[in-house]
């Protein structure tokens, strides 16, 4: 009895969030942009799979399927989807129709953000997962590859995280700049030279190009390998690398950069990509994603409608 009352109370509390989520998902699904994107991404994925069917091993082929989600044009579509909820003509509908009702701005923003992330991830997974399953399970005239379930899941998760970050970045820009077109253009100018920007902060391993190059290695990574590796040394190495990156990141803002000692091998040196760190990528994209959502919420809270 108490449990049911509690559930009902929770249900009532979550009702506006779920209502906006459902409404936004339906509106997004009805949009031409999403349908075109779904069609285009399906066609491109099938084309890539078919054209490389007899040439690439599993890992290389799967990595080539994931590559378009990290670069133009899909990143642009994802960003545009993120920009829309609180800018342009939608802001009026929003003010008159939703935010004049008993809904908090935080509830609205979180629901709109969740809807966009869900939609983008759905489109991405609906197309890629069946194709990857086909690539792995089908008997193809190429040498066997050691692609693992863990590798596939982690590679999908990394790309999913990058897409979530892009939606959040678009979301933040849409909240800051009232004109969606301007926000999208600004994001293009930010995202295009992202490799260069990340290089300045010694974070080049997080750049989309680096991620896509490391994807084949990651796809062959097994969970056991990750577990059986000398954990303490891996952790220490990762912590050390992360600390160095943070130091470098801060030093760019605070003081002149020290002369590089160049004792450590460059990232991805030799094309082995063995020092790809899932943890650092998750932190590198996860933290900015959370920060973007938090900032968007803050700015939206301070904004007049």
């Amino acid at each position: 009895m108490g449990s049911s009352a509690k559930t009902s109370h929770l249900g009532m509390k979550m009702m506006p969030y779920l209502a906006i989520l459902e409404h936004d998902l339906r509106a997004l699904w009805a949009s031409r942009l999403v349908r075109l994107w779904l069609t285009a991404t399906a066609v491109l994925t099938l084309f890539l799979a078919a054209s490389n069917w007899t040439q690439f091993q599993d890992a290389t082929l799967i990595a080539s399927l994931l590559f378009p989600y990290l670069v133009f044009p899909w990143f642009f579509v994802v960003v545009v989807l993120g920009v829309s909820p609180v800018s342009g003509s939608r802001a009026e509908v929003l003010a008159d129709g939703i935010l004049s009702r008993p809904v908090s701005r935080t509830e609205y923003l979180l629901a709109a953000w969740s809807a966009r992330v869900l939609l983008v991830l759905s489109v991405y997974l609906v197309v890629t997962v069946p194709t990857i399953a086909l690539v792995v399970l089908a008997k193809r005239p190429v040498p066997d590859d050691a692609v693992t379930i863990f590798g596939i899941v982690s590679a999908l998760a990394v790309v999913g995280l990058v897409l979530t970050f892009l939606v959040s970045l678009g979301f933040l820009m849409g909240t800051l700049l009232r004109k969606p077109l301007l926000a999208a253009v600004v994001l293009v100018f930010i995202w295009y030279p992202i490799g260069l920007i990340l290089n300045v902060f010694s974070l080049e391993e997080l750049s989309p190009i680096s991620l896509s190059r490391a994807m084949s290695t990651q796809l062959r990574q097994s969970l056991r390998e990750a577990d059986t590796a000398p954990k303490s040394s891996v952790d220490a190495e990762q912590a050390d690398a992360f600390a160095r990156q943070v130091d470098h990141f801060l030093s760019v803002f605070s003081s002149p950069q020290p002369q590089p000692t160049a004792t450590r091998p460059e990232f991805f040196e030799g094309g082995g990509f063995n020092d790809f760190s899932l943890l650092r990528v998750i932190l590198g994209y996860g933290l900015p994603t959370l920060m973007a959502v938090a900032l968007a919420t803050l700015f939206f809270h301070l904004r007049d409608l």
């Binding site: 009532m12 509390k13 009702m15 506006p16 779920l18 209502a19 906006i20 409404h23 339906r26 509106a27 009805a30 003509s89 009026e92 509908v93 003010a95 008159d96 129709g97 939703i98 935010l99 004049s100 009702r101 008993p102 809904v103 908090s104 701005r105 935080t106 809270h301 301070l302 007049d304 409608l305």
Partner: protein
């Protein structure tokens, strides 16, 4: 949808509103909104709206009416001052305040891809109404606003009048005790306008209603209290009777038939009478003003004798015609004339 018995209604002016016994629906103190350090939309506005009143927020375009309503809803943040609805402070996350308010925007923008039932159901969910309350209310509201026949149409195909009707239903979805309706008759045809005014009269029996408008005839028909805004400031608040009392009621307009020369002659002759002034206002009308202290009936009798003498035929006689409009215009003129004293 009853929220308050008639006995609780307080037909009070500002003096009564200051008494502690009067329950207030809205209260603002020095409410100010400045956009980007450039435009003062609401200027140091202190307002009290008694619970149960039908309050007309009157003012020319750009006077700050809509901004005031949006400040109450928390859609905008005040630059200074504060606003309260039923004793609760307004703000962007003030859900408790918005659950007490039904808002109708001017020509409301709604999600065009939805149908009326879907839209009202969404709003019911936003108001956290359980399904057993939500569904019957959607149906009864659509019937009440005459949109039952349009339930299979998408909102984007609706006319202005249909959108306003749906907006009215939307504002009533949560059964709020306070309605903020911004120009509810804008763009409506005569029958839709009549429907809206009748509805306000009906709802006014049980709810507090604030109607922002610049259409004075609407105010005359539905409101018992008034606030007049001009350039962001509230230049008058009080009952409709009080505002009408403010204008001179000694004007009488005579509508005449006859030679225009004779009408001009009548105006000159009447103006020569003691304690009476007159002017030829329109082609066939003379406005007669009777000074304080003179008997209106005797003065009028003298004027009517001159009408006969000038060989004119009296078609109609008006006294205090459209009093609210005159009072409103007089208030605006006075406010502009005060200059630095404002």
């Amino acid at each position: 949808m009853s929220t308050m018995p008639d006995a609780d209604r307080i037909p009070a002016g500002p003096s009564a509103a200051q008494e502690p016994a009067v329950e207030l629906a809205i209260r603002t103190e020095h409410l100010t909104k400045i956009y980007g350090q450039r435009l003062i939309a609401v200027n140091d506005m202190s307002l009290e709206v008694p619970r149960g009143s039908v309050f007309g927020l009157l003012g020319p375009n750009g006077a700050g009416k809509t901004t005031t309503l949006r400040l109450l809803l928390g859609l905008q943040r005040p630059t200074a001052g504060r606003a309260e609805v039923f004793g609760k402070r307004c703000g962007p996350n003030a859900i408790a305040v918005r659950s007490q308010i039904g808002y109708l925007a001017t020509n409301p923008k709604m999600p065009g891809n939805l149908r009326p039932i879907e839209y009202l159901d969404l709003l019911g969910k936003l108001a956290r109404l359980p399904q057993e309350v939500r569904k019957p209310r959607v149906s009864s509201l659509l019937r009440a606003v005459g949109l039952l026949g349009a339930t299979d149409q998408r909102i984007q195909t609706f006319s202005t009048g249909m959108c306003t009707r749906l907006g009215i239903a939307a504002s009533l979805m949560g059964d709020p005790p306070l309605l903020l309706w911004d120009e509810p008759t804008a763009g409506l045809d005569p029958s839709a306008r009549r429907f809206t005014l009748d509805l306000i009269r009906e709802l006014g029996k049980t709810k507090t209603i604030v109607v922002a408008t610049h259409i004075l005839s609407d105010i005359d028909q539905i409101c018992d209290h008034l606030g007049v805004m001009h350039e962001g400031r509230m230049i008058f608040t009080g009952s409709v009777q009080e505002i009408q009392r403010r204008i001179r009621r000694d004007d009488v307009t005579l509508e005449l038939e006859g030679d225009p020369e004779n009408i001009s002659r009548l105006a000159r002759e009447v103006a020569d009478l003691e304690g009476i002034s007159a002017r030829h206002s329109a082609t066939r009308a003379v406005v007669v003003r009777i000074d304080d202290g003179r008997s209106r009936s005797r003065a009028l009798a003298e004027v009517l004798q001159h009408v006969d003498a000038c060989d004119l035929s009296l078609q109609a006689i008006h006294s205090g015609y459209n009093a609210t409009e005159n009072a409103y215009l007089q208030l605006l003129q006075e406010d502009e004339a005060h200059g630095f004293q404002r």
